[in-house]
Assembly symmetry: none
Homo-oligomer: 191 residues x 4
DNA sequence: CATGAATGAGACTTCATTCAT
DNA sequence: CATGAATGAAGTCTCATTCAT
């Protein structure tokens, strides 16, 4: 841990603290103390406290977007692909739980310009996922009485909420939760 | 608005501001300015900024708990009662959107003692809802392969997430969203 | 001194310190220490350190503008009025020496918007003074081969420079310096 | 510019920046960025930020002192020599405008020891100029009712003030301003 | 010669809260 | 009841300078 580079240690410390207490409740001093450096060092690598958040924020989303793209582009039938995508986002959120918590909670703490950029990335993700739902609807395997857009919000609410209740000490493994959530989603969409 | 009592005006102002910017991003001065009173007045009626939050926080939850109790205790079949409960929490969250947003977002901003009290109330609500799911499982109308507890988290994620994407200007009315969400939940539980 | 109001004490302390060391070399902490209050008190009355400067800055200029207007509007012949105006600005600058020094030195330390406002006031003063020179030119008593505008810059350079060399311990009284400077100006303008 | 030596590029960058924003408003980082080198390089050649200022500061003054000596030592009559000296300081200040601005504005930003050294050089210059005025007084061609010392302050105020209002885009050339200023000075001294 | 990471002190500012009136 | 002046702690950020490489 101590042999990681300074910026890595800072990101790591910030991730843990932001996840635990929320961005606004964490002082820069706490971050640098935990990373074992001084404030000057932090401002050498990051322009601001916001930058630190931005860095963390983007990493999960980018990773999940990449995985979604890959899953969505697969050759399997749509039900299978949607199930895989739905389960995957759960598993990766739990595997990177601190990062995910920061991402889930801190949307509006970013400065104006970065917030817009982030919103765009988020929107892309949302739309890729929605396209899967619509594909199933077009294929005649998913219900069409509920707008796909709403279903996606519905499902991602469940995902984001993980940050509120999930604990690694709980009885269920990430894979199980992912499967259950995906099952619930697919069941609610079938005709 | 100006003919409301001072504490009412304060709660009202705080609700709007906390909903819009988050508890930590709102200064007491902003709240009193919007309420048209001075800081002294606020500290006359409320012990602290946290108190203000606590007041708002509790009100939605208490109201929703009461409604849930009533719906759950009704004579209708379980599928009907769960559907009604699921739809109702959506509708009341949207009807009291600012309060709900504050409630959804500000869980961890309460001081230790109040947080515990609040968690207990929340847990009660969660358990009452879970009891409905379990009732359906016991009655043989809901699937049992997914823990009821998980399903409740799943659904309340969707509810809490409303605060992130819902806008009154959108195409769907509160009632529609409530119905759709409840439909999705019931569909995912049916055998 | 200690029975002055807090804002007065702050302005007073700031004036002395800014005059002695320059705006950028004075910490807010020094100002409040000298005024015998805390930083919080300062920010209760003034929005920023810049505000403090702005307050000081404006006061001399406004006073001198008022006096210039009065002198310029008098019934005396133009040579007499220009002499009086030229001497007066020296005397009032010396009588309010700390304020004047702050004014002479700190033009570009103001924030953008305030700087523009101040520049406008300054310009007004400059132009009122120039009008006197032009009046004398039009009346045929002052030379016309040198642009009035340039002469005004020339003279106000001398005035501003007082802050650099003048000391109350010196041999000359404010009135003497005023008279000498005004004599030099008038002599340089006569035909 | 890029083929100048590193210390030259640093001095050049510092001059422009100090002139534009004032010594205290310029970060060492900005200077080295503009010079296209790193901070280490700067500290290799200069002991401190103050050193940079000192270097700039001295150069104008030394040059002007040399020129004054030469003009003053000439064979021309005193009125002619004073006029030439007065005009020359204007022209050289404008020709080296950034350096001059730094010199005019940054007197008190030097550290104690350097400030004293600088003051001595400045005093020498002042006294050499004053000697010219006194020479004219002794020769019976300049008025004696105004102390020569005061007249020198008077004139150098005008010179220093150039930094505040002069712009190369203006209608007057350096030579014109020099002539006008010298004319004004001589006119104010004649009997 | 030159780099650039890192320091550490100190800068300005914000803000929840208290208290005399 | 209500005011608003004042506090004091804490917050984010800047910057001249040093030093191992």
């Amino acid at each position: 841990m101590s042999n990681a580079t300074v910026p890595e240690r800072l990101i790591s410390a910030a991730t843990e603290l932001f996840a635990a207490k929320g961005f606004d409740r964490v002082a820069v001093q706490e971050v640098v103390d935990r990373a074992g450096v001084t404030k000057g060092a932090m401002y050498h690598y990051f322009g601001s406290k916001d930058d630190l958040l931005h860095e963390i924020y983007g990493s999960v989303l980018r990773m999940q977007t990449a995985r979604l793209e890959e899953i969505a582009a697969g050759p399997e039938p749509i039900t299978h692909r949607l199930h895989a995508a739905a389960a995957d986002v759960i598993v990766t959120s739990i595997d990177n739980f601190d990062q995910a918590k920061v991402y889930f909670r801190s949307a509006d703490h970013l400065a104006e310009d970065k917030r817009l950029a982030m919103r765009a990335e988020r929107r892309t993700y949302h739309e890729r996922f929605r396209a899967l739902v619509e594909e199933g609807q077009a294929a005649g395997v998913f219900r069409t009485d509920i707008p796909a857009d709403l279903t996606v919000h519905y499902y991602f609410g469940s995902v984001h909420h993980l940050g509120t209740w999930y604990s690694p000490e709980g009885p269920l493994a990430a894979k199980d939760i992912g499967r259950h959530y995906a099952d619930l989603l697919l069941a609610s969409l079938r005709l």
